[in-house]
Amino acid sequence: MKSYAPIVVVVALLAVVPFIVTSNVVLNFLVMALLIALAGQGWNLLGGYGGQYSFGHAAFFGTGAYVTAILQVRYGINAWLGLFVGIAVGALVGAAIGALSFRWGLRGSYFSLVTLAFAEVLRIVASVAPITGAGVGILIKLDLRPEAFQFQSRAPFYWIAVGLVGLSLVLVRAIEHSRFGAYLAAVRENEAAATALGVDAFAIKLGAMTISAAITAAAGCFYAQYFLFLDAAIAYGPWLSIDALLAPIVGGAGTLFGPLLGALVVKVLGEATKLFTGDAPGLDLVVYGVLLVGVVGLAPRGIAGFVATMTPKRLRLLWPSSLRHG
C-alpha cells in the first residue's frame, strides 16, 4: 500500500483547492489541466510505458465525447450512464485500431502515422455525418441537476475531474506493479527479446491500447458534460492528440505523475503566454512546440527525469532505461 500513498497525498491536496480558491477562472484552468492530465495518462500508458507513440489519441477522446453527447441528445439516455458507455465505446475503438495496427506489425513511425490517419478519418466522418450534427456541431441541453451530470458551480465538476485523475493514477500504478506492466515494459525495451521469452507482445500491446483508449475516452466524456458543445474539430481535432502526448512527455513519459505534472506546466505556460500577448492566436501553441522540442532535446526524461538526476544515483536506476540518455 505504501506505493499508493503519494497518490492519496496528491489527490487530497488537489481536492482541497476549491475550499481555498473560489475564483472560477482558477477552477476552470485547473479543470482543463486535469482534463489534459487524464487524456495524457491514457497516452502515457501506451506511449510512456508501452513505447508505442500514438499521434491520434483524439480518436478516443472524440469518441467518448460524442457517445456521451449523442446518447443524451438523440436518445435521452442519462449522462452518467453515457459516461460509462462512452468509456466502453472508446475502449472498443482503441481495441479495434490496436488490433488492426498490431496484427500487421506496425511499429514506430508507421504506428504513429496510422493512428493519426484514423483520427483524421473520424474527424472527417464526424464533420459530415448527420448523427454528430455535422458541421453545426452538437449541443447538450442545459439541465443543471447532479443527476444529469451538470452542476450549478464549478467545484463539483472539479472534484469529479480530480476523482477521474485519481482513478487513472491508481489504475496505472496497479498496472506498474502487475505482471502485465512488467511485460509491457519488456515489450517497450525490446520486443523481439520479450517475444523470445514467451511474452505475447500482440496481446500486451492490444491490452495497453484498450486501457489507454478508455482513459482518454473518459476525458472526452467529461469534456462533453463540462462544455456541453462538440463539433468535429473539437472532438477529433489534432489539438487533443498533441496535448495528450505533450503533457506526459514534458512531465516525464513512463512515470506515474508525469502527465499530471506536465499538464499543469504546459497549461501554466500557455496561460502565461496568453497573458503577455493578449488574444493573438497561435503564440501559446508556438510555446508548446518549442517546449516539446526543448524537452526532448534537453531533458529527454521530462521534468520528472530531470529532477531524478538531481538525487543520488541509486534512485536513478528506478527510471525506465529507454528514457535514460543515449
Binding site: S109, L113, V125, P281, G289, H325
Partner: protein, 290 residues
C-alpha cells in the same frame, strides 16, 4: 455514362495534380529513405514556402516561377540548418525523439504563421492563372502544364544529383549502410542535413508551382502532406521512383473519384486508401521491406 471526352481530360488533369503531390512526397520519401524518420514538419514547411512565394510576389513583385529559383536554395539552407542544428541534436539519434521533434517543429511553424498572418486565406492574381492550352477538343490549364514539366525536371535533376555527384553518392551510401558510410569517412551528420535540405527544397518548388492556382493560409500545407504520406507509403517508404509513380496514380484516382463521388467524399477516399495500404502492405507497392 462517362465518355472519353470527360475521361481523358480528367486523367490528364489528375496526372498534372499528381505531379505536384509527387514532388511533396518526393521530399518526404527522400528524408525517410536516408534518415529513416517521418518528417512531420513537412506540411508546415510547405505552408511556410507557400507564404514565402506569396510574399515574393506581393512584396517583391517576383513571379512565382521566378521566385522558385530563389526559394529553392533558401529552403535548402533552412532545411539543412533545421536538421543540423535543431532536429539532429535534439533527437539524440532516437527514432521516437525524431518523431516528437518534427511534430514540435510543425506546431511551432504552423502557429507562428497563424500568429503572424492570422487565419486569413490569401491568393495571388496572375494573368496566366486561368489561361488554357487547347489540344484537339481538350483544354489544359497553363499553370498545371508548367507544374508538370517542372516536376519532371526537378525529379530528373535530383536523380542525376544522386547518381553522379560525390555528395549524391554519399547520400545513397548513408541510406544503404550508415555505419559503413561513416567508416569510409562520410560525415553522416552533414549528409543527413543535406538530405533534409533537399527534401525541404522540393517543398519550396512545390509551393511556387501551387501558388498561382491555390490559396495559402496557415494550414494550407496539411492537405498536401496527408496525401503525401499516402503516396510515400503507397510507393514504398524511401523509394524515389515509387513516390513519383504513386503520386501520379493518386492524382488520377482523386480526379476520377471526384467526378464519380463528389468533393467531400473524395477526401475520405484518400484516407481510406492510406489506412488500407498501411495495414495490408506497409512496405508499399515498390518497397523492399516492411
Amino acid at each position: 455514362m462517362l465518355s472519353a471526352v470527360i475521361l481523358i481530360p480528367a486523367v490528364l488533369n489528375g496526372l498534372m495534380t499528381g505531379a505536384v503531390y509527387a514532388l511533396v512526397a518526393l521530399g518526404l520519401t527522400l528524408i525517410y529513405g536516408v534518415l529513416h524518420i517521418i518528417n512531420f514538419a513537412h506540411g508546415a514547411l510547405l505552408t511556410a514556402a507557400m507564404f514565402a512565394a506569396f510574399f515574393a510576389y506581393t512584396v517583391l513583385g517576383l513571379d512565382p516561377y521566378v521566385a522558385l529559383f530563389l526559394l529553392m536554395p533558401v529552403f535548402f539552407v533552412v532545411g539543412y540548418a533545421l536538421q543540423r542544428y535543431v532536429i539532429g541534436p535534439a533527437a539524440h539519434g532516437d527514432d521516437r525523439n525524431f518523431l516528437l521533434v518534427t511534430l514540435g517543429l510543425a506546431v511551432v511553424i504552423e502557429n507562428a504563421l497563424l500568429y503572424a498572418f492570422r487565419a486569413d486565406t490569401r491568393t495571388v492574381n496572375l494573368p496566366y492563372a486561368f489561361k488554357v492550352i487547347e489540344i484537339g477538343n481538350m483544354f489544359l490549364a497553363v499553370p498545371r502544364v508548367v507544374a508538370f514539366v517542372a516536376v519532371v525536371a526537378v525529379a530528373a535533376a535530383l536523380w542525376l544529383f544522386l547518381q553522379w555527384t560525390a555528395t549524391g553518392k554519399a547520400v545513397r551510401a548513408v541510406a544503404k549502410e550508415k555505419l559503413g558510410a561513416e567508416l569510409c569517412g562520410i560525415d553522416v551528420a552533414h549528409i543527413y542535413a543535406v538530405t533534409f535540405g533537399l527534401g525541404t527544397a522540393c517543398v519550396a518548388v512545390a509551393a511556387c508551382l501551387l501558388i498561382p492556382t491555390y490559396y495559402v493560409n496557415p494550414t494550407a500545407g496539411d492537405a498536401f502532406v496527408l496525401i503525401a504520406f499516402t503516396i510515400v507509403v503507397l510507393g514504398g517508404m524511401g523509394s524515389v521512383i515509387g513516390a513519383l509513380s504513386a503520386g501520379l496514380f493518386v492524382g488520377v484516382v482523386e480526379s476520377l473519384s471526384t467526378i464519380a463521388l463528389g468533393e467531400s467524399l473524395g477526401q475520405i477516399g484518400i484516407f481510406v486508401m492510406f489506412i488500407v495500404v498501411l495495414l495490408v502492405r506497409p512496405s508499399g507497392l515498390f518497397g523492399e521491406r516492411a
